[in-house]
């Protein structure tokens, strides 16, 4: 049982990526499912960031190229976002009764702030005061700019190959 679950995951993950693009399709909409992601001028991480998209932002799908999706964002901006930052589900930032008024089904919605959230972490921390989160908070503050990554690879004589999430 456990083994079969493990075997299913690579296919499920790849399928999900493909399905997410297919489900949204040109003309469809997707939501940003990470805290922040860059809207880039070209379909690559080295592409210039022209704006920052935030959790729950909805974007219109224009076209896809490999793992990158060209989207239209608010303010008439268009650019490229990586598939792993987007979901075909509509992310509802409001909680509680708001969900009862939407016509979308549970499978079409992702409710922001629901389930395992900061409140749950807070309750957990109250019950386990011996577990210190200082280093976790410090880790998350680490920021590396795309420019620094590029310089690092170049200085080390590393030339990225083709393909993948570049």
């Amino acid at each position: 049982m456990k083994i079969s679950r493990f075997l299913c995951v690579p296919a499920a993950w790849l399928g999900l990526l493909a399905l997410s693009v297919w489900a949204a399709g040109p003309g469809g909409t997707m939501s940003v499912q990470v805290k922040n992601t860059a809207l880039r001028a070209s379909p690559a991480f080295i592409g210039k960031a022209i704006a920052t998209l935030s959790y729950g932002d909805q974007v219109a799908v224009i076209e896809s190229q490999g793992p990158w999706i060209k989207v239209g964002a608010s303010g008439g901006l268009t650019g490229w976002a990586h598939t792993s930052a987007l979901t075909p589900k509509r992310i509802v930032l409001q909680s509680g009764r708001e969900t009862a008024r939407t016509k979308a089904s549970g499978d079409e919605l992702a409710l922001a702030g629901k389930g395992f959230n900061s409140d749950v972490e807070g309750e957990f921390r109250k019950q386990h005061r011996n577990i210190d989160f200082t280093w976790i908070d410090r880790m998350e503050k680490t920021r590396v700019s795309p420019g620094e990554m590029q310089s690092f690879l170049k200085a080390g004589g590393i030339t990225p190959g083709k393909g993948g999430a570049q």
Partner: protein
Amino acid sequence: MSVKGFFNFSLPLAAGCHVAGRLWGTAFVFLFAFAAADAQILDALSNIGAEIGKQTGVLTPEQAESVKKAGGAVAKTFESITPEQEYYIGRTVGAVIINKYRACGNEEADHYLNVLGQALAQFSDRPETFGGYHFLFMDSDEINAFSAPGGLIFISRGMLQCCQNEDALAAVLAHEIGHVQRQHGLQAIKNSRLNAAFSILAAESAKQFGGQDLKDLTTAFEGSINDITATMMNSGYARSCEREADKAAVVIMQRAGYDPNGLIAMLLEMKKRLKPGGFDFAKTHPPPSSRIADITRAIGAYRPVSAPASRQTRFARVMEQIRP
């Protein structure tokens, strides 16, 4: 300190039953949720439960509709965990790890690790997670590395000693990124925990978040953290997961421009250093020789890594900073 020492939790089934007792219209759904495994049956039960609740006045029509919509979630597995929830699980798993092993705390070395790791993550199939990828050296001579769900990755000093060049360290990080990409940590969560959590969420969608719901959800959360940390630190992932992570590491390294032979170089060194019966990779991972055999099938016979002086110099500096 054992992982079990952190927690003293009750069964999440009890948490699910508590919710059911307070909202009997949905209880019909949830009690069957624990016994049944078929998603379609559960969806149907969700609808029936919501209808009963509506007809008996326990739920308003709006609330019943909401329960119907959320009911499908009861049948979900780890794949239904949103990136946001994965992030909170990962933060706590990471906290448990770093409270056990402690951080080295060398700012320059940690920054190097983050530049290398975040650059590698860009070449994975999952470059973006809710909170992003972050890396830290652990102050431990054990040969160990951990990846918490969502991308918090920890490398021990003992593991660094198994690396003779940056390509080998890149291989270790890429392997851990592979675990994050494939969500192996989340797969360690028992379905009973998820059933309990999603049951609470299904009921929660029909009303405001209550104090008892938070407690019940925290119980399921606590159990989930325990499932993941126990798997990572004690039993190890399934062999198939380690193979997947190695496979992902080779792909990431090739895309990034690192030599995948770095992975074999690291495993050869690890083979020399691992002590049988140890509480590190010797306990939680397949033997290095078996992993090497799998990797050479993918990339061909082992060839020693040749790195330019600039790469080796910066790596040597980090080795010096993290030396015991």
